[in-house]
Symmetry: C2
Subunit: 456 residues, 2 copies
């Protein structure tokens, strides 16, 4: 479905902030099948915005939620830059903990509060508006620009590899740019040098065929919740290391230069303490918080479910207990191998009297950008021009598996120019995006295109 390009490039009567709020009102939660119509409406809104402002834009069907694919006017002889982002968002739960409703954008303290404000609607829209304004002002763009904005990033980009393979010819580019990572401090220019990989799984233990009365049957059978805590307690040793045999076998240990670089970043353990609100920091012994996040793999329990969870007491012996787990990976750790190791380990811990089902989730390889290539230099110049200071080079704890796909399928590096503030609350209640970051992101996009055009 190609949309006709409008000729006047107008964004009729709507400010950049108005447009962001419109974008944020869509409940584009990709993990909930019942919200598929909202997902499509959100994609169509984005597609219309691009198509009405000088881009050849289409709703690009995939095996799942559609992507938005748009191409700016041709810039012969200039490099081709693919800007990737996603319009899908995380679920809003626990909804009761939001100060204002997650899909009704509210502005407080010069920040926009809504699910997706930072991750990723605010950041990708800054790029889109940066390009639209530049095109409007100058009548052309300094590079061949492609937007690929998908709807399944929060569910592991399941269909995007196939999509890229199928349309590889159209997506051919020199470099990819993504703003879906964090800044070391608010409005501190940041290039993310590496990302952790991810491997997700759900573990379900089943014991009795139904919830039992814990008095009448308690003692007779193995309680699946007790079995689960016993197994999960073995995920870590007493030094905060992951205790799954083989987990660290291929993990590249941080070298002294990397540790020195992390130590130079303008973020300390005290900053993490303040940002997280935790009573104390913790984790693998022998590393700072920034090192544990950026340079070390982890195992996290994302959710626990069993038995009665309502008000008061219910004396049940639960039939089922389950946990959602993710593992963050560093270079040379492979998601499939890690999930195999974890499953073998859990199976070895499984007591008699319960049965285990492992449901594998999405995986993504760890990634490190090549600082030697000229695109990186251009990106660092654009960051410095936009924010007026030398950018930080950080190792990010999050995972963007698609970066690895771009490397493998399109053969190019990805520039990670994150705009997320440390306290943006991505994935959590009260997610927010500073208006200043949004405006900076618009300028950053324009500077980036200019630097990439000049520096190639």
């Amino acid at each position: 479905m190609h949309r006709e390009s409008a000729t006047d490039f107008s964004i009729v009567g709507r400010s950049d902030l108005d447009l962001l709020c419109e974008f944020l009102r869509f409940r584009s939660v990709s993990t909930k099948p019942e919200l598929a119509p909202q997902m499509r409406q959100c994609a169509e809104w984005l597609c219309d915005l691009l198509a009405s402002n000088g881009f050849d834009a289409e709703i690009a069907e995939t095996g799942g939620h559609p992507a938005v694919l748009a191409r700016g006017p041709e810039a012969p002889g200039k490099p081709t830059v693919l800007v990737y982002g996603h319009y899908d968002v995380q679920p809003e739960d626990p909804v009761g903990e939001w100060t204002s409703p997650p899909f009704e954008p509210a502005i407080r303290n010069r920040r926009v509060f809504a699910r997706g404000a930072t991750d990723n609607k605010g950041q990708i829209l800054a790029h889109v508006l940066g390009a639209i304004h530049l095109l409007k002002e100058e009548g052309s763009l300094p590079v061949n620009l492609i937007f690929l904005i998908e709807g399944e990033e929060e569910v592991g980009s399941t269909n995007l590899d196939d999509f890229i393979r199928a349309r590889r010819g159209e997506l051919r580019c020199d470099v990819v740019a993504i703003s879906d990572t964090g800044m070391v401090a608010e409005n501190y220019p940041t290039l993310t040098q590496s990302l952790r990989g991810i491997a997700a799984m759900e573990v379900v233990l089943r014991g009795p065929s139904t919830d039992l009365h814990s008095g009448i049957f308690g003692g007779a059978v193995v309680n699946p919740a007790t079995a689960l805590v016993g197994m999960l307690a073995r995920l870590h040793d007493h030094h905060g290391r992951v205790a799954v045999p083989g987990f660290y076998d291929n993990a590249v240990p941080p070298d002294p230069a990397e540790r020195a670089a992390v130590a130079k970043l303008p973020v300390t353990d005290d900053d993490y303490l303040r940002e997280t609100g935790a009573p104390a920091l913790g984790g693998e012994e022998g590393y700072t918080a920034a090192e544990r996040i950026g340079l070390r793999p982890t195992a996290e329990i994302n959710g626990l479910t069993s038995g009665y969870q309502g008000t008061g007491t219910k004396t049940v012996l639960p039939a089922v207990a389950s946990a959602k787990l993710t593992f963050r990976l560093v270079p040379n750790q492979k998601p499939d191998r890690i999930l195999n190791l974890v499953e073998i380990f859990l199976q070895s811990l499984l007591p008699r009297g319960v049965e285990m089902e492992v449901i594998r989730g999405h995986g993504g390889m760890p990634y490190a950008v090549n600082l030697q290539n000229p695109w990186c230099a251009a990106a660092l110049r654009a960051l410095e021009t936009t924010f007026g200071r030398e950018p930080a080079l950080v190792r990010e704890g999050g995972s963007i598996p698609i970066v690895q796909s771009f490397h493998e399928l399109l053969g190019c590096d990805t520039l990670l120019l994150g705009l997320a503030a440390p306290d943006c609350r991505a994935h959590a209640p009260d997610e927010n995006f500073p208006i200043e970051s949004f405006e900076a992101g618009i300028r950053l996009h324009q500077n980036l295109l200019r630097e990439l055009a000049a520096g190639a």
Copy 2:
């Protein structure tokens, strides 16, 4: 609020089974504050039934949900028997696992399916109807009969001790009878010789001030879910024993005679395997399932809650993780002491980086009936007459703290004449009560009153 006794004792046009279904339709879930009106309606229905059929009945206010208190015609010179039961029921969760809706009684295979069918509406109504029919047929009752039917049994009978104290004069009796326990096999007459005590608590661990992104922050802070599983994994040792220091200090170990009596019961490990549907039995080493239930204390996790529990993956590092726990106790273990020991133990395991809140729930002392007293002999005769075979004497795993209160406050023993079938699914989806047990319960009540009158 005393209700006028009707003079014709009629249960106009309604069969016993009709009345049971009416009783079961009330959503009398005591733990849910929003259902208080339904609780009261249920109490009023019961009160009306008794008041319309020869009893002096009242809605008796307590500090919480009301009780129904009713007294039959005076039987001068005869013993006074108090029949206790409860009209409140457990929550219906997980409602999706019911074959038919929990508050729309359905009859399948000669069983009534509904929340409360067995626990305790079916059993207490059998007593009420037994008395009503006897009074209607004979114009009098063989004993002074008191019904005390409360609305807070499933939330620990919080206000009943105060109520009994306040109205001790009216409640004075020679013996208490309760049908709120199990039969060793369906329609196998059973006197429960002992009950386990109970101590309940909820443990809440809090780490970061909000759910965090598990990539951006994973590794920097202690995950409360990881802390929780680590702590709860220490509740038991490798032999299935409770590992809380001091837990067994006062517990009376089962003597050879008790173990021999349990071994004689017509229930085997195979029966428990079939009834629970578990892949295998399990628990404290060195005991049969019946011994572990009847003679040994336990620690059970009744519920686990943390982080994301919806469809798919959400990469959060949860702010909170909590567990509901209950401990079943044997003679000489005291609920308060056990909760103290557990709290001290958990506190000793608490890692830095999370904070713990312990919310104490209800407690109940363990109890054993005195088999030497004449009321027991009368009860055993009534059971044998009703069911046509020698009754089993069982040690029940459940807890009825009120039994201890009757002992302390009214100075009398309690006869536990359970009518619950082993597969009644009390507290679980598809709770049910065989119509045959309901009818037998009506006859049992009548035989019991006759035997108590004769045997005193």
